[in-house]
Every structure is written in C-alpha cells, then in structure tokens.
C-alpha cells in the first residue's frame, strides 16, 4: 500500500531528526543526515509519481492508533496528495543534494540537522493527513520545525525578531484553520475528511469557512496583507531551508487551500472566486513591487515568492469562479495552470535560493549593492542563476512561461461567465497579472545584473570563488527540471489531469497525443504552444548566429580603449547600482505603494560637502494594518493593567458581578 510506504519513510525522517540530535556537530553528521534525507525523499517521490501516473482507483484511508483516543489519525493518498507529495519531495531531494555541499559551510550544524528532517516529515504529513486533527497537528509541527530553522542563526541581528513574527503569524493562521475545521465538522464533530466531504454545508457557513481558510492558509503562503513574516523569516534561515520554505512550504499552504475549498466545501458560490482573485492579484503586484526595491538578495527572492503565490491564487480564484458557474472545462484549465505554477515555482525558486546561498557562502554578502562581477568568478553559478531568472521571468522555452500562458488562456475565457461582477473584474486581474509578470522580469534583470555583471563593488565580491560541485549538482538538477517542464509541458499537464478531474469534475484534453508535443488548452483554432519548437528555434538560431559571426567577422585582433560610459574614474562606484535601476519604478509606484519620500540635500555654494539624496520608504501594509493593531493591543494592555491594582472589595465585586452575569445567562437562556 502506497500510503504505508510513504508513512514509513516519514517515520524514518523523524528518526533521522533524532539522529541529528545525537550526531550534532560530529564530522560527517551533516553528510549522513542529508544523504539519508535525499534517499528517503527519493523513495517518497517515486511512490508519489507512480501513484500519479498509474492513477489507480480510490485508496482506503489508513488509520493509525496515534493521536486522539478512539479516533486515531487517518492518512490517505489521493491524486491531489500525490501531486503535492511529488512537489514537496522533489524540492526536498534537490535541497538535500544541495545541502550535501552547502551544509559543510554551516557554522553550527547542530542547530540545523535535527530540525531539517523533522521539517520535511511535517510537510509530508500535512498532505497525507485525512482528518482535520492530524492535519492541524502536522501543520503546526511543520510551522514549529521551520521556526526552529529560522532562528538557527539566532545571534544575527533581526533573526530573533523574524522568528517571533513568524511564530505569531503561524499561530494566527493555525487558529483560523482550527476555526474553519471546527465549523466544517459541525456540532457532531466528525473530523474525518470523508465525513466532512459527505456532509451538506449551509451557504453562509461555507462562505465563512472559505474566508477562514483563505486567511489561515494565506498567512502561511504569504498572501498580502498576511505576508509580513515571509520576507523576514525566509531569508533568515540557512539557504537550503529558505529554498524549502519559499519553494515548498508555501505550496503546502496552497495544498491546504485547495483541499478545503475545492475538495471539502463542495459547490462554491460565485463571490468566492472574486475574493480569491482580488487578493491574488493584489499579492502578485505588491509582492513584485516590494521585490524590486530590495537590496538583500534573499529578501528579494522572498518577496518574489509572495508575487508567485499571488499568481497561483489568481489561478485558484479563476478555477473557483468557473466551477461555481458550472463551466468545468475552463475551471480545469485554470486549476491546471495554478498547479503547474505550483510545480514551476518550486523548481525555480529553489534554484534561485540555492544560487543566493552559493553567493552568500562565497562572499558572505546578501546585499547586492556590494556584489557585482561574479559571473567571472563563479561562472557556473551565474549560468544556473540566470536560468532561474529566465524561468521566473516567464520567458520561453522555460517552464514559467507555460503556466502563465495557460493562466492567460483561462483569463481570456472569462466572458463565458454569467456574472457581470466577474466579467468585469477578471480582465482587471489579467492586467494585474501582466503587470506583475513585466515587473518580475525587470526585478530579475536587476537581481542578476547587479549581482553577476559589471565589476565587483567590494573586496568580498572580488575574492569570490566557485561553489562546491554537490551544490552545483543540486542546482543543475533543478535547472534541468525547469527546462524539461518548459519543453514538454504536455507531460506535466497530463500528470496533473487526475488531480484536476477530482477537484472540478473534468480534466483538460490529453496533451501528449498532440502532434509535435505542442499543447492545445482549448481548441487548435484558438491557441497552441510548442515548447520544443521554441527551444529548437532558439538553439538553431543561436548556433547559426555564432557560425555566421565566426565565419564572416574579421578575425583580426583589435585593441582599443573601452568606452568609459562617460565616467573617467575607474572606481566601481560609478557603475549602475541596484537602487538606480529601481528608481524609475520607485518614482511611479513608490509614493503610493511604499509611501516613499525623496529628499535632496544640496549644500550651499562654497560648501565642500557632497550633495545627498535621501530616500525613505515604509511598508504600507505594516503601517496601515499591523501598526494600528499593535497600538490597540498596547492600549488594551495598558487599560487592563489597572486591574492589577484594585482593592480587595473591588476584586470581590468583580467576582460577584461575574457570578450574577453567569446566573442571569442561565436564567435567560432558553
């Protein structure tokens, strides 16, 4: 039985956490733990893929006698679980491979090794759970394990604060999910997913559960305005864990959302799609705008995760809207696009975080203003990072393009919807998506250009060396996955098909049988895309260009002074900087999105001081939403503080009044 095999692997991962505690910082401990993780994740991946491709009938749940007495914990693998197991374990295997090399640079392996396998086990358990209780326990276990990894380097500035905010938001999210499941289980309290699925839910209750699930899973996935912890916590962890948190853990949150809204809640109402879509487009645009402004490479990647989560939620919102109106084919297309993007983002975001980790170990810098010129010192990492940037910027023939293209195809089908509210807003969401995609390209041109091109801006960047081969192997694996998914999207779409069919009742037409491996989402007359063709065109045209240049260009060697771009001083400070690259976009969006204020300080004539340009930016969401909440809590605490200093008689009166109030309630209650 597949679920038994996977659970055995998960138990082995948990045992490995114990090994990590014992082995601590002995030499070879990290090699042992990471290679064992690699092997175990490989096994789970194989099981999940075989389950996904073979697609046998529904499998009964496996009930283990752990957890609540007489209830136990139910685990089951269906198509949705198998897909997310594959996503999780592919990312985890790549991260383990990368960590085989990267982990050697870790200063305190004893703080990472015990929690890393536990974190992997937690994520696997979340998607395996088949009742609300084990789901919530696994969810919280995953949060706590990742929290321990976030504060692994707790002596670095801000990491403890990041951990604290993460813990707060994670608890808040779990609370919302707890309420959602409580409402779903109803007064009878049947927490098994099978019972919840079979029960009828009132419309208002289902709507309330949707909102709770959106907030609960959104706080883990990083939906604006619940994203505040994400750009703090993800960069704080060691890089392979950052990759897992950004690339994989946010996907577990997406799994939670899909499981609750598509699987458990039954037929959606039309406004659900609107809510999810609105939040998703806001998240996509704001996330990428924030990413464009960051100077910290890992924080930039974390904000870009926020953007991609927004894109995924746009797809899910579209699927909900189509499903509510009974348009199964477009719903299948939108859900396929969202799940495809889940897969893609787990590939390229892990790849990019690995690249950032390689840069970090090599130079000790995360501030891109202090990097530059790394392409000459770390050519392979630069190539791999460039591949990730191309994929995340949705350029063909890589995988990011396919999922976003599918998403646009689904958006173009929105006029079929009967509700005018949706007809008018979905094109707006499409425009937001297009804006996010364009800004994301700009963001990664900036990230790659400032980090790897130009001249080194610091001694550390000058002294950078290529990272170790095992780390590069992990990155090569992911880049290959990006390329394969981009060139052969039909295979991926067909693998997702059983998942989609289980959720919306229909799947996309099979793609692998199409001629020349092209994909046709709706009809051939409408649109089709052939990744292989684009890839071959790019390869051939490049080879042709190289050949033509080499054959017809002059072979004579010429020496000339390079153009100095108008800067006679050779200092690297005169280069284009990250801030100057982002400045036009800051001018356009900054005043509103970041409350950015620029101030020019001109010294009076005769003064020898340099002129200064000061830019102040604020986090809008933090100021508008979180600062007031913080203020209210502070105010409430201050008011309640008076209760500490009452007289005995007043305390007695409080007890007395409480008693009388309770008695009154008993008397009045019907």
């Amino acid at each position: 039985m597949a679920v038994g095999a996977v659970l055995t692997c998960v138990a082995a991962l948990l045992a490995l956490a114990g090994v990590g505690v014992i082995a601590q910082s002995r030499s070879g401990a990290s090699r042992l733990v990471y290679s064992a993780c690699l092997a175990l994740c490989g096994v789970i991946l194989a099981v999940a893929l075989s389950r996904l491709v073979a697609a046998p009938g529904p499998e009964p749940a496996l009930t283990l006698p752990v957890g609540l007495p007489w209830i136990g914990a139910r685990f089951r693998i269906d198509a949705l679980t198998a897909f997310f197991l594959a996503v999780i374990n592919f990312g985890a295997a790549a991260a383990s491979l990368y960590a085989l090399g990267y982990g050697e640079h870790e200063e305190h392996p004893g703080r990472v090794l015990p929690f890393y396998p536990a974190f992997l086990a937690g994520m696997n358990l979340v998607v395996l759970a088949d009742d609300a209780f084990s789901f919530l326990v696994a969810w919280e276990f995953m949060s706590l394990a990742s929290w321990a990894l976030v504060v692994a380097h707790h002596r670095e500035a801000d990491n403890v604060r990041a951990g604290y905010i993460y813990l707060l938001m994670a608890s808040f999210g779990t609370l919302m999910l707890l309420l959602a499941f409580g409402l779903l289980a109803g007064p009878a309290g049947s927490y098994a997913f099978g019972d919840i699925r079979a029960a009828e839910h009132a419309e208002w209750l289902a709507g309330l559960v949707l909102l709770l699930a959106l907030v609960g899973t959104g706080s883990k996935a990083g939906l604006v305005p619940l994203h505040v912890w994400l750009p703090l916590a993800h960069p704080a962890a060691p890089s392979h864990v950052s990759a897992l948190m950004s690339g994989v853990m946010t996907k577990v949150a997406v799994y939670g959302f899909v499981r609750i809204t598509f699987d458990l809640l039954g037929t959606p109402s039309w406004w659900w799609g609107l809510a999810v879509l609105g939040l998703g487009s806001l998240t996509a645009v704001l996330g990428v705008l924030y990413a464009l402004m960051q100077r910290d490479l890992k924080r930039l990647l974390a904000y870009s995760t926020v953007e991609n989560v927004g894109i995924i939620f746009i797809g899910l919102g579209l699927a909900l809207a189509f499903k509510a109106s009974g348009l199964a084919a477009p719903a299948a297309l939108a859900l396929t696009a969202a799940l495809f993007h889940v897969l893609n983002h787990s590939f390229f975001k892990s790849l990019l975080f690995f690249g950032a980790g390689a840069v970090l170990t090599s130079t000790g810098e995360r501030d891109i203003e202090k990097l530059g010129g790394l392409i000459r010192r770390m050519p392979q990492v630069a190539f791999l990072f460039l591949g990730g940037c191309l994929a995340i910027s949705a350029l063909p023939p890589l995988n990011g393009f396919v999922s976003e293209w599918l998403l646009f195809q689904a958006i173009l089908l929105s006029p079929d919807l009967p509700q005018w509210g949706l007809k008018l807003t979905i094109p707006a969401a499409g425009a937001m998506l297009a804006l996010a995609a364009a800004l994301s390209a700009a963001c990664f041109v900036r990230a790659f250009g400032i980090t790897f091109l130009g001249r080194p801006r610091s001694m550390e960047a000058q002294a950078a060396v290529e990272t170790d081969p095992l780390s590069r192997a992990g990155m090569f694996l992911l880049l290959a996955a990006c390329l394969v998914a981009g060139i052969l999207p039909g295979v991926v779409i067909d693998a997702i098909a059983p998942v989609v069919e289980a959720q919306v009742g229909l799947k996309m037409p099979p793609q692998t049988s199409n001629a020349w491996l092209s994909i046709i989402p709706i009809a051939e007359s409408r649109s089709s895309y052939n990744g292989l063709l684009v890839f071959s065109f790019i390869v051939f045209s490049t080879l042709l260009a190289v050949e033509v240049i080499h054959r017809f260009a002059s072979r004579a060697l010429r020496r000339a002074a390079p153009w100095d771009c108008g800067y006679p001083q050779p200092s690297p400070v005169t280069q284009y900087t990250a801030d100057s690259f982002a400045q036009p976009i800051r001018r356009v969006f900054g005043e509103i999105a970041f409350l950015a204020r620029e101030r020019v300080e001109m010294p009076p004539p005769g003064d020898a001081r340099p002129a200064r340009l000061e830019v102040r930016m604020h986090d809008l969401v933090w100021q508008v939403l979180y600062a007031p909440i913080q203020g209210w809590i502070q105010l409430g605490a201050e008011k309640l503080n008076h209760l500490q200093f009452l007289t005995i008689r007043r305390y007695l009166s409080l007890v007395f009044l409480a008693l009388v109030a309770l008695l009154l309630m008993v008397a009045i209650w019907p």
């Binding site: 007289t647 008689r649 008993v666």
Partner: protein
C-alpha cells in the same frame, strides 16, 4: 405529614433569607452581630427540621455545631473583638442601604428563577431549599461587596457559609462528613480572619479597609 414538612422547611429556609436581609439592613456593629447570631439559630433550626423530616439523626450534629459555634461562640468572640478594637460605630456602606436592599431583592428573584428552572426534576423539598440557599449565598456576597469594614465583611463571609450548609443539609443523602467539614471549615476561617484583623489593626490602627487601600496608594 408531607405537606407540613414541606411548609415548615420552606418557612425556616425563607426565614434564613429574611434574616440575611436584616443583616444587609443593619448599620450598627453590635446589632449586626446579634442578627448574625439569629441567622445561625434559624439555620440550626432548619437543619434540625431537615434531620427530623429526612429521618436522618446524624444531621443533628451539624445543627448542634451551627448553633454552638455560630450562634454563640463566634458572635461573642466578634463582640469582644469589636469592643477591644473600639469600632462599635456606625458601619460605612457603599452605595446606601436602599439600593442595596433593592439589589438583594433582585438577587433573590434571580436565584429563584435559576434554581427552579435548573432543578425541575428534583425533589420539591430540596428544590426550595436550594433556591433559598443560593439566595443566602448571593446576599452574603452582596454584603461583602457593599461593606467597607473588615468585621462586617467577616460576617458576610460567615453568612455565605450558612447558605452552603443550608444547601448541603437540604439535599437528601449527602454524606455526613461533608456537612461536618463545612461546619468546621467555618471555625478555621474565623480564626484566620480574626488573627488577620488584629494584625491589620496593629499595623494600620484601623480595620477600615479604605485605609488599607489608601496605604497601598491605589485608586478607588
């Protein structure tokens, strides 16, 4: 026999509530102590009647304890404490006698409504008893809340104890050990509170709790 038993039990328990109201009304220290002794006497009568009606002679023991301890020893002791401390002035109340009495009436009505609804299936004898007992407890609490003087708070506390004993003896089949231990817990409480009264007085030259609060420098 049965209607008479119910009526007399009813009358005695109701009498206890009435005496509780008299406690609330009192504004002299010695008067308060005398009424409290009356409270204990009515209680012991009620217990004795319950012992007779329920045909449970062991109930006479808590009745006797109530009569001797609360009817005689504690009032006399409190009397001496008051004389010794020299605080036989008027009792300072919070918020006037009239509103307090009105609030007390409201509390009795509340406890009737709650108890009669909650115990609809119970034995009628126990039902009435429980309702009156809850009234006595609430009135005792009200007294503790509305008095500033430590001695009258002690009296309020002891009248709460009386209410508890009334409830315990009204229910049929309650083990004797519960009733006895409730009765004896009172004496312990009395000793502790008595010691504290003298300690407070030693320290602050008054047993008016307001002075304590002022000493702690806190708001009212």
């Amino acid at each position: 026999m049965q209607p008479l038993a119910l009526d007399v039990a009813h009358m005695l328990a109701g009498g206890l509530v009435l005496v509780s109201f008299m406690l609330l009304y009192q504004d002299r220290m010695f008067g308060l102590l005398n009424i409290f002794a009356l409270h204990a006497v009515v209680l012991s009568l009620s217990i004795a009647w319950q012992a007779y009606v329920q045909n449970a002679p062991h109930l006479f023991i808590p009745g006797a304890i109530a009569l001797i301890l609360k009817g005689i020893i504690i009032p006399v002791a409190l009397h001496r404490v008051v004389v010794k401390l020299g605080i036989h002035r008027e009792i300072e109340t919070v918020g006037g006698i009239g509103p307090t009495m009105l609030a007390g009436i409201g509390l009795v009505a509340l406890s009737m409504v709650v108890m009669l609804r909650a115990t609809a299936a119970a034995d009628p004898l126990a039902r009435q008893d429980l309702a009156f007992a809850l009234s006595v407890i609430l009135l005792g609490l009200l007294m503790m809340v509305t008095r500033r003087n430590a001695v009258s708070q002690v009296v309020g506390f002891l009248s709460i104890e009386n209410g508890l004993i009334l409830a315990a003896t009204g229910a049929k089949g309650m083990p004797l050990v519960v009733e006895i231990s409730v009765a004896f817990s009172v004496i312990v409480a009395f000793i502790v509170i008595g010691v504290f009264l003298f300690r407070i007085r030693e320290r602050f030259d008054t047993v008016d709790l307001q002075a304590l609060d002022e000493f702690r420098g806190e708001r009212q």
